[in-house]
Amino acid sequence: MGNLLKIQNGETIKRSAIPCVSFNRFAELLAHFISDDGYIVQFFAFVEGGKNRLLAVVRNKDLYVLSTEVGEDFPSFTASCSEKFHMFEREIAEQYGITPLNHPWLKMVRYHANYRNVPDVFGNNYQEEIPGNYPYFQVEGEAIHEVAVGPVHAGIIEPGHFRFQCAGEEVFSLEIQLGYQHRGIENLLTGVPLKRLPVICESIAGDTSIGHNLCCCQALESLAGLSVDPGSRIVRSIALELERIANHIGDLGALSGDVAFNPPAAYFGRIRGEFLNLLQVLSGNRFGKSLVLPGGVSKIMNAEQAKIIEGKLKELEPELRHVCDLLFTAHTVQARFEHTGTVSKQMAEDLGLVGYCGRASGIEYDARVSFPTEAHDPLPVNRNEMTNGDVYSRAMVRQEEIVHSMHLIRTLLNRSGEPSSKTTMQEMSLEPDAFVVTINEGWRGELSHCLLTDVSGKIVRYKVKDPSFHNWTGLAMALRNQEISDFPLCNKSFNLSYCGFDL
């Protein structure tokens, strides 16, 4: 692979080992890699010695890293190579004021001033409140009307703005403008004492507490040289799967509700709570917050907790099977789910969709298989049967993953005799001048955290990527030529994170 450096998930390497090539070489290598079935894991900017650097972590079957130096602008990869770069380049422009030239839709991502205090790429005045002065996609014509929704929505849901261009019921274009949830997490993570990091990462997206915090703790463990005992790894893997099951069940319930089929909506809603309670049995918190710490877990799993989890799985498994059958065999449900919000495999590949959104369109990638962590290494793999890319497929994939995850938990429980001890937050000194990237398959898909430390071992750049960062564009494309009344259904079938995107 020429100058691309192959790395392992969660492996600490010296920053000096990251190849830094000329921009032309960078562009050539990256374009070649991405067009040959390669995907972007991370692509971000940082400042080193007063110079702007771009760093890319990319994957095919393996993981690679590459960097280059740029000035105040660089030719856009979105324009010349692939749509996969689209949001990443907008983020670079917003965070560091570096302009990707000829970017087809250069617009802010989250609405905040850049980190370098240089003139704003978008000409925004951040003293003004969002929504500021920025353009939306326009469709012109006498029969066209525009529908604006949000940021505050009708349900108990996070804020975001949706702008539809419609002809009658039909949506020609949907543009999704987020940023309302921006909390400045990446900067916060570099400035606070290490003891705060797990607590902050658990709240990047509360429904992915375990997933994001695993990424954080694995990175800190790697940088500080901490080891984790096998028993704790099992607890972490079980927690990750419980999180996945609870969220998938919740979404199946919400999908039932969106097509006004209330019995399964009520049943799924209640069963989801049972799985959150299992996380509470493990950790004391229904979202598993506080469970994962650098070096292990705050609570070990004794025979008592293992028995409760096993008992509940046994009780809920047939109930779930029956309620899923009720949902998926109802004609009214099929009529609404099938051929709605279809994302073709080609489109999914072009956009680089991950997680169940990608798998429902036929992209098999699952980070638990490609870059396994914790106790996931030798576990059986899931296969998805329905990959048409519509709402039905995205719902079906959830069902398959619920069944698979329950199987994984049972397998892990059988191994739960492994030694483990509880961990408290400890003082750590991080490897100086180092780089680490961690990847986990959160319930929405590929999560990744990337850390860079300076000569004193202080974190100078903390980059977080939630799978939603890839997938929101997928939702926008799914709505093309759909009826606007199908939007809630499509939205729920993706169920992306607003705060995970907005950070």
Binding site: I130, G155, G184, I185, N187, G284, F287, H322, K422, T424
Partner: protein, 247 residues
């Protein structure tokens, strides 16, 4: 149709008898802390040092439940010598000061703001505003609508429009980017209205305290009537607070 009936029979009635009967949460759940005020000061300092939220006031021997995320590190590190967390989920308060607690909280039901009960005791319609919440608070508020909690049986509902609401229920540390939408929503609610701050984020900024991108304290923007601590508050904490404050 037969499938619906079969599932209905299998599911049965799952609604909790709470509040008529008490409900016990699993022992690992961390609710209202019990503070040992006779604890050795060196152990208290240890707890203070390990707290990610700076929520422990060592000299006063108190915990600020508005900042606390109930992570349990202080209990772990002191082996319970200074703090142990009870399974008491009833933690709502009517004032911010009351959350700075020595392990006790004033009884919510006896609070002077009984006029809320008169106004909204029979029917309370709330508009939820997520102002940069991480979706954990939102999810555990949504859960109140599921059959187990069945919030509607108490005459309490979450509604789609602020115009239909008697108040707002706010989660999240209030990002700068949500400030104006939050205030617009508040203003759209007809008076008299009630404001509920749910979760450590809306009370103190929660895990994000110190970030320049958030405002971090709902009470500094609009007057808060009811504070519900937690990260996120357990659904029963929210239910307990709503029932005791309004019913």
């Amino acid at each position: 149709m037969l499938k619906i009936i079969r599932n209905r029979i299998e599911q049965g009635c799952k609604t909790t008898p709470y509040p008529k009967e008490p409900i016990n949460l699993y022992e690992r759940y961390r609710g209202l802390p019990i503070i040992n005020s006779d604890c050795d000061p060196s152990i208290i300092s240890l707890c203070e040092a390990v707290c990610p939220q700076d929520a422990i006031l060592g000299r006063e021997k108190k915990i600020d439940l508005g900042k606390c995320t109930f992570c349990g590190r202080c209990e772990n590190v002191s082996e319970g010598a200074f703090v142990t967390f009870s399974q008491d989920f009833g933690m709502g308060t009517a004032t911010r000061e009351a959350l700075i607690s020595d392990g006790t909280l004033p009884a919510l039901a006896e609070h002077a703001k009984k006029h809320f009960r008169k106004l909204f005791g029979r029917s309370l319609q709330l508009r939820q505003v997520s102002a940069a919440g991480c979706n954990a608070c939102e999810a555990d508020t949504n859960v109140l609508g599921t059959p187990f909690f069945d919030l509607a049986r108490f005459g309490i509902d979450f509604v789609a429009s602020p115009r239909h609401a008697d108040g707002i229920h706010v989660t999240g540390p209030i990002s700068k980017n949500m400030r104006s939408a939050l205030i617009t929503t508040y203003e759209a609610v007809p008076s008299p209205k009630v404001v509920i701050a749910a979760g450590s984020c809306s009370i103190s900024g929660g895990p994000f305290f110190g970030s320049p991108e958030i405002l971090g304290d709902l009470n500094s923007i609009i007057p808060v009537d009811l504070f519900i601590p937690g990260c996120p508050p357990h659904p029963l904490t929210t239910l307990h607070a709503l029932l005791n404050f309004f019913k």
